[in-house]
Amino acid sequence: MRILAYRPNKRASLLLPAIPFILLIALYSFGSIVRHVGNPDDKLLPGLASLADAVRRVAFLPDKRTGEIVLWSDTAASLTRLGAGLFFATLISLVVGLTVGLLPYLRVLLSPFIAVLSMIPPLAVLPILFIVFGLGETSKIVLIVIGIAPFMTRDLALRVAEIPAEQLIKAQTLGATTWQILLRVVAPQMMPRLIDSVRLSLGAAWLYLIASEAIAAESGLGYRIFLMRRYLAMDVILPYVAWITLLAFLSDFLLRALQGRLFPWFAEARVK
């Protein structure tokens, strides 16, 4: 039989995805053991025991200096920035994307401008943001917004333009005004697509968050990682990276679940 015809059964479908993870952990453990044989003080690949110890220190014991549990205060700081950035980016893309997508005059007026705006490398304007907004929270949130809002706006405007002309004509023959079409026909159909757009932007949002925290911050997951780099503290950095990955994965999962729950019509309508 051809290889492409072999299909995993139910049990295999549950077990197979675990294999790459197990392999990765095994490979890491092996490497760690080998390095510790040569040098018991090796910091590059800390053993599982010292990783667990570091996790206990940062995630469960209060910091001696501040009295806070470092991982949680970092997480709270980072998620606040990320949440604020995503919120404003979503708001901007919703207002601008919907109107630019629906109204031909605004489309002609603004879409080239947005296209150019989205080509500015956000990290290149980070110094400007630090100069203008200072080193506080504002500049970090603005960086996330600048980084993802143009993309999300363009994406949404394109999705609006994809609405079949028939639907808009039909709404007009039912007596709808422009505002009513925006409110009852276009916006509700764009909500699940907006969630898609946020999901796609999450990776970029984390990138800009960590970049800005690495450069100037006093707390945050990115700040901690770059701080620990000075001490070669891989036993802290690695759990932090895993934690960030988990957070990103969970937020993506939650958004997808939210989409299915709030917009039951979307999955089927998308197939057609």
């Binding site: 079949p164 002309a165 639907q167 039909k170 039912l174 007596g175 505002w179 019509w265």
Partner: protein
């Protein structure tokens, strides 16, 4: 009771003539079926009636008044596809017309007004045989059911004119026969004038009181774009279809008998 009058209507795109010298009088409560080969301007004809396109020359009058420049609630439409809103349930799709009229700012009705609109929509859904599906989303319906829904949705605003753009073209023959029955019944029960574009000749004669064929005239080989389509045949369908309250069957133009 609505008359439609095309007076020497031309439609050109960038020097390409699509419709030429179209002069048609459509009697009140007529069911006009428009047939013709692909690309002969049938759909353009319907679009001008919808105000989706403006004629390059000539005038279109509805009840003696110039056609408004944008689609209005007097002219309902059912397209072959995308006529219903995928994010609304069957019932919500039908109520929508009432909500647009009843709530300028929110476009949504609540409380007593909503109950009243719901009753009206439910009656229409019963009429088209979709009561059992009223909580479903359009993507969960078959093609025939979607078109029934599109009809109910268009009719809730009581349009004076109903425009149909190959509405039953994608349906299976058996389902088509059922929906034809429904269409004739709806036409008889209301007073609307119907214009239907179709590529199915038997459908045209089955439903229409009058059949128009659109064709491009034999073209000049040198200037193929300079000749548009126009009405080449204009037939009254026999036997005349009678609406119960309208014994004089609608005929061509303003004439009452031929």
């Amino acid at each position: 009771m609505t008359t439609i009058s095309f007076q020497n209507v031309w439609k050109e795109y960038d020097g390409k003539v699509v419709l030429e010298k179209l002069s048609i009088e459509i009697a009140p409560h007529a069911f006009v079926a428009v047939v013709g080969p692909s690309g002969c301007g049938k759909t353009t004809f319907l679009r001008t009636l919808l105000s989706e396109e403006a004629p390059t020359r000539g005038r279109i009058l509805v009840d003696g008044a110039l056609l408004p420049r944008e689609p209005t609630v007097e002219r309902g439409v059912v397209f072959q596809r995308y006529s219903v809103f995928p994010h609304l349930t069957v019932l919500q799709n039908v109520i929508l017309g009432k909500e647009f009229a009843g709530s300028k700012f929110l476009g949504a009705l609540y409380g007593k007004a909503r109950r009243k609109a719901t009753d009206e929509a439910a009656a229409l859904l019963d009429e088209v045989g979709l009561t059992a599906a009223s909580a479903k989303y359009p993507a969960q319906l078959s093609g025939g059911m979607q078109q029934r829904l599109a009809l109910a949705q268009a009719l809730i605003t009581r349009p004076k004119i109903l425009l149909l753009d190959e509405p039953f073209g994608a349906l299976d023959p058996g389902i088509k026969a059922d929906i034809h029955e429904l269409m004739l019944r709806l036409w008889k029960e209301t007073q609307m004038t119907v214009v239907m574009v179709t590529h199915d000749l038997s459908e045209a004669f089955r439903l229409g009181t009058r059949v128009l064929t659109f064709e491009r005239k034999p073209n000049s080989e040198l200037e193929p774009d300079r000749f548009g389509a126009t009405v080449t045949r204009d037939l009254d369908v026999w036997p005349p279809k009678l609406a119960p309250w309208n014994t004089g069957a609608p005929r061509k133009g303003a004439r009452t008998s031929s």
